[in-house]
């Protein structure tokens, strides 16, 4: 079963091209890859490196607007690049399965989980319906889903993101495939959930002796999962080696730079002077969504000072984003005050004056949906200047140019572009520029780096640090990524179930003793050590007794 020497999948000089502006441009430029039976291969690289394209190529599939332009893909002796639809269809789901990044977007919302799970084994005649359902429940149990007997009879929206991701892994296992492709299966999850999904995936892959290709941009994650790691950049292999060698002795400079990213740290700042007026603060803010019995925020108090960053951490559903929405006035609190420079703000943004709106600006997580795709860059960042500061004509153009230079984008080159003509990191820079264009006092950064690759994210963090100093900004930095907090925060607030459970200077929070929840959060952050996952799971099992 675990014969890792026998190749299951081989790619030879695989080339894939994509249609862009009427020209075929290479996406994958000749990649060689061999995957043994029962082996787990990690593919890492920045976005645009061709990871997902190779992953889909292993199934003999290319995205719309792409084509195989050379090389071969052999799966167990069958050539896939030129295979007919029928051949591919017979292989997919029965012998090759795919787990997508966003399970929420990949399940059909109109069918119960178990009916989607059993569709393939039943249709392919591998099992009877009852048998397939029993098998599904077994898989749910193995993946440690709560209530395995019952959970399959729910609809996708009735289970959490982490559970859905595990249900999708179970579905991929339904026909006991030889190969599963995991395309960033935990990227959208927060750390405490990620650890559960990771251990579940790893156990089931080991138990069933399945081969896997694990695509991710998170090095620490791939270190836990893979036997071997391949680093990709611009559609080419940089290097490949087994996990231990790769982590301890990377050969190429690019790989080393990927490894080194986590070292970034903002300069230390003196603590805020006693009695200094915060720019914006929350005083005992309690908020509630209409029609819900429980408040989502429970007497939250945080102060934001000029030139300081307060990181708000916690898992999804802990009330981080809700806190931001309350400050913005999008969800008016039912109790409490939000003073701006000492004078209470209207709790509803519709009742705030222009100056009050101007003072608090937000940078969104997904730059893709935060920038109007039909507006040019100069309109996106020019509008707040016209609206708040009444800039016009030449003065406006000059300000836009200065701001673009400030966020390190060449003004002449980017002024007239549309967001779709920018990379992910550049889009996020435009998001930052739009917030800055209003000359705010407090900027709320809602998970601004979580959709970005590490190298790009680091650039954004550096930029935010620089801008903070230049413009004397207060930041509220919402994130679930602890390494980001270490890099940028001055103060930290840890949130759980709508309450701030621990709050204080960064050093105080990160040095023991921790509050129990902070401890769970900190210990869930993946480390580069391949033995980390085993160790954490063992520790937790021991703690449970």
């Amino acid at each position: 079963m675990n014969d890792k020497q026998t190749p299951l999948l081989t790619m030879q000089n695989l080339q894939i091209e994509g249609l862009s502006e009427d020209r075929w441009k290479p996406i994958v430029k000749g990649v060689d890859l061999t995957l043994g039976k029962g082996e787990v291969l990690g593919l890492i690289g920045e976005s645009g490196a061709g990871k997902s394209t190779i992953g889909l190529g292993a199934m003999g599939h290319v995205r719309d607007g792409c084509r195989f332009s050379g090389g071969t893909v052999h799966f167990d002796g069958i050539e896939l690049t030129g295979a007919t639809r029928e051949t591919c269809r017979d292989l997919r789901s029965t012998r090759i399965a795919y787990v997508a990044q966003s399970a929420a977007a990949s399940f059909n919302p109109a069918f119960k989980l178990i009916n989607q799970h059993t569709e393939f084994p039943v249709r392919r005649g591998l099992m009877q319906r009852e048998e397939a359902q029993k098998d599904a429940v077994d898989l749910y149990r193995q993946l440690q889903l709560p209530n395995p007997e019952e959970i399959g009879f729910r609809y996708p929206h009735q289970v959490s993101g982490g559970q859905l991701q595990r249900a999708m892994t179970a579905m991929a296992m339904a026909c006991r495939p030889d190969l599963i492709i995991f395309d960033e299966p935990t990227t959208a999850l927060d750390v405490t959930t990620q650890i559960e999904v990771l251990s579940a995936i790893r156990n089931i892959v080991e138990d069933l002796g399945t081969s896997a290709i694990y695509i991710t941009h998170d090095l620490a994650v791939v270190a836990q999962m893979a036997d071997r790691i391949m680093v990709l950049r611009y559609g080419e292999e940089i290097e490949a080696a087994d996990t231990a060698t790769m982590l301890n002795a990377p050969k190429e400079d690019y790989t080393k730079s990927l490894w080194a990213v986590r070292s970034f740290k903002a300069a230390e700042k003196a603590p805020v002077a006693e009695g200094q007026m915060p720019v914006v603060s929350l005083r005992d803010v309690t908020a509630q969504y209409p029609g819900m019995a429980q408040p989502v925020l429970n007497s939250v108090s945080i102060d934001f000072h000029a030139d300081r960053t307060v990181a708000v951490v916690g898992e999804s559903g802990s009330g981080k984003s809700t806190t931001a929405r309350s400050v913005m006035g999008l969800l008016p609190p039912v109790q409490g005050e939000i003073p701006l420079n000492g004078a209470p703000l209207s709790l509803d943004f519709r009742k705030r004056s222009k100056q009050e709106l101007q003072a608090v600006q937000m940078i969104y997580q997904m730059a893709d949906i935060a920038l109007n795709p039909k507006q040019q860059i100069k309109d996106i960042i020019g509008r707040p200047m016209t609206y708040y500061r009444r800039l016009k004509g030449k003065q406006l153009t000059e300000e836009i140019r200065a701001l673009l230079a400030d966020i390190e984008l060449e003004p002449d080159q980017y002024m007239n572009r549309l967001p779709s003509e920018l990379s992910g990191g550049q889009k996020q820079r435009i998001g930052i520029a739009r917030a800055l264009a209003a000359s705010p006092k407090l900027v709320i950064c809602d998970e601004v780096t979580s959709a970005l690759d590490q190298l790009v994210a680091e650039g954004i963090l550096r930029l935010l640090g620089k801008l903070q100093k230049e413009h004397d900004l207060a930041y509220m930095f919402i994130t679930h990524d602890i390494s980001t907090v270490r890099a940028i925060a001055d103060e930290v607030g840890v949130m759980q179930q709508g309450r701030v459970v621990e709050q204080g200077a960064k050093e105080a929070i990160f040095s023991p003793p921790h509050a129990p929840y902070t401890d769970l959060l900190l210990s869930s952050v993946p480390e580069m050590d391949p033995a980390w996952l085993d160790r954490v799971l063992a520790d937790r099992a021991a703690a449970r007794g």
Partner: protein, 275 residues
């Protein structure tokens, strides 16, 4: 210039055919007085004359030249249908965006009102209203635009609902932008492709409804020429094996097919698929 030519080469054959037909119709409609051999309602011979060198398509029940009336018919039928569709779209999309942005009771009131109008069969409702307001061109345009605005409203609202949840709309709202600005700058630019595609489709329906009403005698009034009533006036010729009444019918059919070819192409472009 090269880029435009290159773009044109990628247009599928069906869409090229559609464009050619539509351009031909527009040409005929615009230059009707030049192209037509006789006056619009001029009596030039006996009734129901057969095709000849003078009267290319024969004459109708009053001895008017069929070819001439076909040409003027293009002008009336297409012109009125176009104006009607444009009004329907202006009113329908504005109301739809309005409902999507404001939601709450505005949405409820508008949507329920639209539900009421939609629940009455189009043609019967149009007949009823035209009987009340009289069959003038203005009331024809008003009534049909009102009815079709309800369909446009539903689409515009659905499309805008998907747009207002985007962060960039929220960003504009929190910035303090007014309703008009948000509708115009943030929503319309994104909603335009599906609405344009819908425009083509609805234009056909409006066109067919007007022809249908004319056939029933409540549409464009004589002596103005239009294709719908030309089918009705000459229908009896079919019994004598004369195909002439089918020609205005074919003109209606051809335009509908052509517009739909163009719409298909636009929908494909808006879908973002590359193959």
């Amino acid at each position: 210039m090269n880029a435009i030519l290159h773009e044109l080469r990628k247009v599928p054959l069906t869409a090229k055919f559609g464009c050619a037909v539509v351009l031909f119709y527009i040409f005929v409609a615009v230059f009707a007085p030049v192209l037509a051999p006789f006056g619009e309602s001029e009596v030039v011979g006996y009734e129901y004359e057969f095709w000849s060198a003078v009267n290319w398509l024969g004459t109708d029940s009053l001895g008017r030249d069929m070819a001439t009336r076909m040409i003027y018919g293009a002008r009336n039928t297409i012109g009125i249908a176009l104006v009607t569709t444009m009004i329907a779209f202006a009113v329908g999309s504005a109301a739809g965006f309005f409902a999507a942005v404001l939601q709450a009771w505005v949405d409820q009131v508008l949507s329920r009102a639209v539900d009421v109008v939609i629940s009455i069969p189009t043609l019967i409702f149009a007949l009823l209203l035209l009987t009340i307001f009289g069959a003038s061109v203005t009331s024809l345009i008003g009534v049909i635009a009102l009815i079709y605005a309800t369909f446009v409203y539903r689409i515009a609202r659905a499309v805008a609902m998907g747009i207002v949840v985007m962060d960039y709309v929220e960003a504009a709202q929190v910035r303090g932008e007014g309703l008009w600005w948000i509708m115009r700058k943030e929503i319309l630019s994104i909603a335009a492709p599906p609405l344009v595609a819908e425009f083509g489709l609805r234009f056909c329906f409006v066109f067919l409804t007007i022809s249908g009403l004319s056939f029933l005698g409540l549409g464009i009034q004589p002596p103005a020429a239009d294709w719908g009533s030309m089918v009705r006036e000459n229908a009896s010729l079919i019994t004598f094996g004369d195909l002439t009444p089918l020609i205005p019918a074919a003109a209606i059919g051809l335009l509908t097919v052509a517009v739909n070819f163009i719409v298909d192409w636009m929908l494909h472009k808006a879908s973002g698929l590359k193959t």
